[in-house]
Symmetry: C2
Subunit: 124 residues, 2 copies
């Protein structure tokens, strides 16, 4: 399991650093077949997904990962399921929001792309 | 998407009804290759997973699903990714706990089994 945990760590470190600094840098992670469910709304394809992510209505955002769970998601291919819970600091709000995000990562040559992406805020 | 949403609804209705009434009834949903991550601890195989679930230290439990997100998780097979957020009422505590649970469902004849299962409580 060390290998997929390392891949998941590398992915999430990159993902949230890019999200929090310049969301357009996430574009290489998505393909035409990629899917995003964002707070229940579906987006298909890298272009639509990046358009959604880059037009979210906040100026500053910071993700803090609390937990990361990783499992192989196929018995025949090197796909990986990554489940994140964490806190989201938006603009100058002092109150962090809890979030949950799930990715399925699919190998593509030496790297991975995101086939599945599901994001939810958790309201108390 | 109607079809996979209906399958996910049917699955989660069955899963949480069985969990909350008699956890041993979940056994048919898991196979030897099934994986559970429960609060960060890994369990492999139906026998180990059911042993874990049936020995959780509470007498009464009730799941209330808040959100369900569903995506196809393979471009070639009819696998389904289901992400749940909700509330958990344990024993006689008046304070519900927030939880997140992710399943990957894999078709097997006319039904589905759980290949991946990741459960986390979300602490505020």
């Amino acid at each position: 399991m060390a290998d997929i945990n390392a891949i998941a760590k590398q992915f999430t470190d990159f993902y949230y650093e890019a999200f929090d600094s310049n969301r357009a840098n996430l574009a290489p992670l998505y393909r035409d077949i990629s899917m995003l469910s964002f707070e229940g709304s579906p987006y298909q394809g890298g272009k639509n997904i990046i358009e959604k992510l880059t037009t979210l209505p906040f100026q500053k955002v910071q993700h803090k990962v609390t937990t990361t769970d990783v499992q192989p998601s196929s018995t025949t291919e090197a796909k990986i399921l990554v489940s994140i819970t964490g806190l989201l600091l938006v603009d100058d709000s002092p109150n962090p929001l809890q979030f949950t995000q799930i990715f399925q990562l699919v190998p593509d040559g030496a790297s991975y792309y995101v086939l599945n992406d599901i994001f939810r805020l958790n309201y108390g």
